[in-house]
Structures are given as C-alpha cells and as structure tokens.
Amino acid sequence: TVGCAVVDSDGFTAAATSTGGLMNKMTGRIGDSPLIGAGTYACGHCAVSCTGEGEAIIRSTLARDVAAVMEYKGLPLQEAVDFCVKERLDEGFAGLIAVSGTGEVAYGFNCTGMFRGCATEDGFMEVGIWE
C-alpha cells in the first residue's frame, strides 16, 4: 500500500491511497484503502492515509478518527495520530501518515517500521523506515 497526504499553500488538504491488497487474498476481497473514512480521509482539519491490517483499519474507521479526535477533543495533529494508533486498533497492526490544515506533518504505527517520508515548507524533509 502507498499513500500521500498534502496541505497546499491555500490551506486546502487532500489524501490518496493505492494498493494491491494482500498476497494470496481471495479474489473479490476489498480492504481499507478504497474505503473513505477508513484508509483515506481529508477535511479542513487534516488529511490522512493509512496502511496495514485492512480489517482492523476498517473496523476502527482509522483515518476519519484522526480528524474526529482533532475536531471534538481539540487535540493537535501528532497527539491525535498517537491517540488513534494506540487506542483504536484493538489487536490490529497499522500505520498512518497525516498533515494538518495548518502545515504540520505526523505519522504513527504500532508494527515494526513503516516506509515513510515527509516535508514542510520551512525546509524540513525526512525519509525513514524504523522508529
């Protein structure tokens, strides 16, 4: 699975996710990536793209929950990401990347490593795999 979350210079956000799914999956199986609110979400608060165990991400509506926690609990982006990865996945494994409408980037995962990269207008740029 691959994904991207962006906020542009006008403060508008967008997110996209794309995947081949699971190796040896049943034909016809649908995972979290195409499900809006589970694998992908974008609104005024943030944009989110998720990856990992699709069934856990679907059950927890993980991408929408990051936005909801920002909206209703007033948490900033990284805290919202940490809360959702820690509290919403039950025994599932997943990771996500996110940007906020105010130009922050964040990511979180509860499994071994996540291929990720992020950059901000003030020059920060990072590519990583491990914690």
Binding site: D8, G20, T27, G95, V105
Partner: protein, 202 residues
C-alpha cells in the same frame, strides 16, 4: 497564505531483517516521490493534484505494493484498489477490483470528478476507465517475478501475507509457518476467522 506540507508512505510492517540494500532502495524511491510532491507544491499546485501525482509515481515503481508490483490474489492475478479525497468540500472517489488500469488513483479521481458516484468496482470501474480514456495495460504488467515467488510461499504456508515481501517472522520454512498456524488455530487465537499469526502487518 498557509504553509504547505506533505507526507507519504509505502506501507507499514517491515521485516526487521530486511536487507540493507532493500532498505536503501525503498528510501531512494520514497525520496524521489517526495521530491515530486515538493516541487509541485513550490510551483503552487493544489493539494489534490499533488496527491494524485505522487501516488501515481509510487504506483509506477514496483518497489511497493501498488500498481506495478502489487500483491497477487490466490488466483495469481492482480486486483488493485485506490481512493482519493479532497479536503475542500470533502469530495471523494474510490475504485476496487481494478486489473488493467495503469494508475488506479487516477481512475479514483475520475470517479470523483466525472461520475455521479463516489465508488466504482470491478467491471464497472474497468468500463469507466475505458470511457474516460485512461491508460490500460495487460494484467501481466503489474506482476513481478518476486511476487510470484512470494505467492508460492504464501500458498505453501496456506497464509495471507500483509507484506508480500517478507515471510512471517520466526518461520524460516513454509512447513514451520504452517505448523505455527495449525498450532494457533487449535489455540483458537484468530481474528476475522484467520489465525492471528497470519496477520503479519503490511
């Protein structure tokens, strides 16, 4: 003026023993795709155009599980899915079960922009791609030798692997993996009806 920002991923759940050269290759692809997004943002592109362009780059490179290099179904075919969402007005588009469209994320965008729906799947999605003139290729374009090998491993172990590049940790042979799965089955540790050990994170 707000400040732009971008984040990308290539999948979560990485084998701690992933060879160094594979890690470097993945980082190179991530850095290249990230730079595509940064250059577009510096040129004033909209968030929606940037996420589509960056995910297209990631789909086209066989390094990650999407587009070319996608995981295989138990039938040895590729069925891809993608979604896109515009934070401005919360518009969205999604596709599933796509097997010949070169860039599924662009088809998801067309569903959002050019159809009355937000989600099309299988034959309907394939027909719409042709109606919209999107580039289509033979299913074999998406299949790599490495994935054929990984599917064989998964079948021998009778398991579903989240990450098609890494066998489940601790099982260096398929029979060991099958035994572990049997054992867990008997212990009743399952999720969604499958032994929890199968769920090696992607």
């Amino acid at each position: 003026m707000a400040r732009w920002a971008i984040a990308i991923h290539g999948g979560a759940g990485v084998d701690p023993n992933l060879p160094e050269h594979r890690q470097e290759e993945a980082k190179r692809v991530l850095a290249r795709c990230l730079q595509v997004g940064v250059d577009l943002l510096r040129a004033g592109a909209t968030a929606l155009d940037v996420v589509e362009a960056v995910v297209r780059e990631l789909e086209t490179d066989p390094c990650f599980n999407s587009g070319r290099g996608s995981a295989l179904t138990r039938a040895g075919t590729v069925e891809m899915e993608a979604s896109i969402m515009d934070g401005r007005g919360r518009r969205c588009g999604a596709v599933s079960g796509v097997s010949t469209v070169k860039n599924p994320v662009s088809l998801a965008r067309r569903v959002m922009d050019k159809s009355p729906h937000s989600y099309l799947a299988f034959d309907g999605a394939e027909d719409f791609a042709r109606e919209q003139g999107l580039e289509v290729v033979d299913n074999s374009y998406f299949i790599t030798e490495e994935n054929i090998g990984m599917l064989k491993l998964a079948k021998e172990a009778n398991s579903i692997l989240f990450d098609y590049r890494i066998p489940l940790a601790g099982a260096d042979t398929c029979s060991a993996l099958a035994a572990a799965t049997e054992n867990l089955n008997s212990n009743g540790m399952v999720m969604n009806g499958l032994p929890i050990s199968i769920y090696a994170p992607e």
